[in-house]
Amino acid sequence: MKQYETVIGLEVHVELATKTKIFCSCSTAFGGSPNTHTCPVCTGMPGSLPVLNKQVVEYAMAVGLATNCTITQNCKFDRKNYFYPDNPQNYQISQLYFPICRDGGIEIDVNGTKKTIRIHEIHMEEDAGKLMHDEWEDCSLVDFNRSGVPLIEIVSEPDMRSSDEVITYLEKLRLIIQYLGASDCKLQEGSMRADVNLSVNEVGASEFGTRTEMKNLNSFKAIARAIQGERARQIELIEDGKTVTQETRRWDDNKEYSYAMRSKEDAQDYRYFPEPDLVPIVISDEWMAKVKTEQPELRDEKRYRYKTEYDIPEYDADIITSSKKMADIFEATVAICKQPKKVSNWLMVETMRLIKEKEIEPEDISFSPQNLAKLIQLVEAGTINGGVAKEVFEQIFTNNIDPEKYVKEKGLNQVNDEGALRATIEQIISENPQSVEDYKNGKDKAIGFLVGQTMKAMKGKANPGMVNQLLKELL
């Protein structure tokens, strides 16, 4: 049996988080009725001209600097010519000859093995509109709201050898970009998209095999499955004595199979040439330095600061910083309630549990730090007990409710009234003579049962400390 090696390179498209489009002042907001975020520029009206959004350059530069790229201080835009109705000018303004970033790389760590994945280039370009087919009228319609939304394309070298390496690289890349605030990088919503270039060759072969490019991968899981599937498909072809065709394939994650879209033979000639409507972008040393100094705290720095400044365990710091959103919530909540360990606990235990249970991404968390801080303060003040707090937190997590209001409305205040507690406990004792007997015979476990019965009778709202104390006293 021959041994095969998989060689993978990625082209990652990231939608940048600018408020306005790359070449006009239209909003980039997601959603909106079709063609409401449009103007003559992003709909390709005759006579309209592009004007570059500087923020796009700064984000691209920031990503380049954070991934150890060299910045092209005199970079240019080029036109990529192709006809498609979602492309209003029938050319896309992109960068071919002088991309803004070149020759970078990031280090990944897969099961303790460190490896650098080199980045060939990062270039800026505009997104296309969206085509929709109207079955009723049997016609196609175009929505140009997305047309002109800024993208960067991060092109890696073919340095990855497994889906684990690919996922680790993508996760790391995503985290860097999220920390920079350059994009929210949501695969499902398409603000991060990865195309996989893959070839296989026999271990020890001197040359790479023929590669294919896989598109339509909208989750990490789909990427991993597509890599497995494509590797298997190519190996089977080779084993059968057939050859792999250089082509673009579309992955169908439901069927777990890819389909050929177009081969190299019918690849288009994009007739790239320098965009005459835009002047070259001159990036001065000062501008580069400014972007560098304004670079937000990245994960490693944050992780270190959490340990030293907030005194939380390394393990906690690691988990919390694994998502920019989580780290943001952590810091904002701590700023309000000044209880880093308590905040960390809520994130580490309940938040992670609910994320898993609801099968969402940490980036999709939507509750406000204010509400978590209030919850912590309610527990701290003894207004609610721990059990109730968990129930309230679930409401915060799913509906972002105001815990103070919620507790008041639902009457969840902790019962600290000694008279009421004493009366209930006395009744529980009289109803459970066997447990009382057991306790007196030295079975400590029995008290747990009695506490439980008391809490149940008080609908979970009793102050557990007081229940324990009173029980011991009355027994």
């Binding site: 006579g47 001209l49 007739r271 040439f273």
Partner: protein
């Protein structure tokens, strides 16, 4: 005595309106009457904006009366080449593919004119998408030269130049990619100017060759040109190639003083191919300037023969991409009876574009395709840079370069279409000015034995419009404006 309002220059008419000797409505009506009388024959206009122009004239009059409009062109009827977007007014580029296109916005240069109180009376005919030198490639038929209707008016801004010559408007805007303002101005005996690239916003000018296109005035005299230029030139943040100039004053150069002005005549411009009558006329103009104290000498510019091939590669390459958006999807003409997307594209573009446009799209697509890009496009860009260098060298020595605008006077209708190469060669003196981004002006300097006008071209260094305005103005003082007699033109 009643003055023929349309025989006045734009500035003269503006003065009369300001002095309340003439109302804006009267001026507008005078232009419309001229159009009615002559345009059926001359075909200068694609769209006459009659109703809207009269409404606008009343508004402008009010704003002149209440003192909000005080500029020199307030109330003056102006024509706009049909490749500049005018909101709600048909803007066709004289092409079938934009035959029904009404823009949703107005070009920046036109807005500047409107803000100065000009009344847009219509949109003028042109070579389709500004590709051509005769205004014969228009889907709406050729425009005729008012001096002799058997001849072309030149192009591509032939409609604008002929409309000014035929006094169907006081002045007009044209656009110049390889000579499209200067050459028709020369053929029609009017004055036309292309300023330094970046001086006038291209926002709203339907692009042909983006790196070469520049809007400019076409008028009866140098004063009008400088006045219009001062109004339409502006730094526009909507056009990335717009230049923030130190000053936008051009009219202060309208002085009859060329003492010590250094003028160079490229020997390369006076060689074979130049009509002897044109040559004589140009050299006489140079003598007239010399007599006024200018220092005139001949010199070798070099590289002149490379300008045309470089131009046709660069302009066609850009055009092939610029014209891609005309596909039947979003606006303009869409072919009937198509079967699927590609068939729609193919039929729409096959039926929507004329032969010259298709030729340049094919040429441009070819020079940009992989394997040919370096050999053609990159080489053309290098040539462009060398041509600019040759001019830089010349301007170390001279303030103004003088020569013919075109090698001949206006050819007969139909003579050029059959031989595109010959037509391309007619642009030899104007094209390098676009490649180098320089300002150039064409002023009438006489007529040939057939009575057709000859144009003198004056070229300045980048941002030195004042030098050529000064030289053109001084030359103009040596001869009276020669009005064309339309009645005589029908032979």
């Amino acid at each position: 005595m009643t003055v023929n309002l349309m025989s006045l220059t734009a500035v003269e008419l503006g003065k009369k309106i300001k002095a309340k000797e003439v109302t804006v409505v009267e001026a507008t009506k005078a232009a419309l009457a001229q159009i009615k009388a002559n345009d059926k024959e001359l075909n200068c206009f694609v769209t006459v904006n009659e109703e809207a122009a009269l409404i606008r004239a009343e508004e402008v009059q009010k704003r002149i009366d209440d003192g909000t409009l005080t500029g020199p062109l307030a109330g003056v009827p102006v024509a706009i080449k049909d490749n500049m977007c005018t909101k709600g007014i048909l803007t066709t580029c004289s092409s079938k593919i934009l035959g029904n296109f009404k823009p949703i916005y107005t070009a920046e240069a036109v807005i500047n004119l409107e803000n100065a109180g000009a009344v847009i009376i219509g949109k003028t005919n042109m070579d389709e998408f500004a590709m051509g030198s005769t205004t014969e490639t228009s889907i709406f038929g050729a425009t005729k030269n008012p001096w002799n209707t058997a001849h072309v008016p030149g192009g591509s801004s032939g409609g604008s130049a002929a409309a000014v010559a035929a006094e169907e408007c006081s002045c007009a805007l044209g656009s110049d990619t390889g000579g499209s303002i200067r050459q028709p101005s020369s053929f029609c005996g009017v004055t036309g100017m292309k300023p330094t690239y970046g001086t006038i916003s291209r926002y709203g000018l339907i692009a042909y060759g983006s790196s070469l296109d520049q809007i400019g005035p076409i008028a009866k005299d140098v004063t009008d040109c400088a006045t219009i230029l001062e109004i339409i030139a502006s730094y526009d943040t909507k056009d990335s190639t717009s230049v923030k100039r130190e000053e936008y004053d051009f009219t202060s150069a309208l002085v009859d003083d060329v003492k010590g002005l250094k003028i160079g005549i490229p020997r390369d411009y006076l060689t074979k191919g130049l009509d002897p009558e044109v040559k004589t006329s140009i050299l006489n103009a140079a003598k007239a300037l010399e007599a006024k104290g200018a220092i005139v000498e001949e010199f070798d510019l070099s590289l002149v023969q490379y300008a045309i091939p470089a131009y046709y590669i660069i302009a066609s390459a850009e055009a092939s991409s610029n014209l891609a958006r005309f596909d039947g999807v979003k606006f303009g003409f869409r072919a009937k009876d198509f079967d699927g997307l590609h068939s729609m594209y193919k039929k729409t573009r096959s039926q929507g574009f004329g032969a010259e446009v298709k030729r340049r799209i094919m040429l441009g697509s070819f020079v940009l395709s992989s394997g040919y890009y370096d050999a053609y496009y990159i080489k053309a860009l290098k040539t462009k840079a060398l041509i600019k260098k040759a001019f830089d060298k010349a301007f170390e020595k001279y303030d103004v370069i003088l020569g013919p605008t075109a090698p001949t006077t206006a050819p007969k209708l139909g003579e050029s279409l059959s031989d595109p190469i010959k037509m391309y060669l007619g642009d030899i003196y104007t094209i390098s000015v676009n490649l180098a981004g320089l300002p150039g002006i064409s002023v009438p300097c006489g007529n040939d034995s057939k009575g057709l006008p000859i144009g003198l071209q004056l070229i300045g260094d980048c941002f030195q419009e004042k030098n050529i305005i000064k030289a053109a103005y001084a030359f103009e003082q040596t001869k009276k404006y020669d009005r064309c007699n339309i009645a005589k033109s029908r032979d």
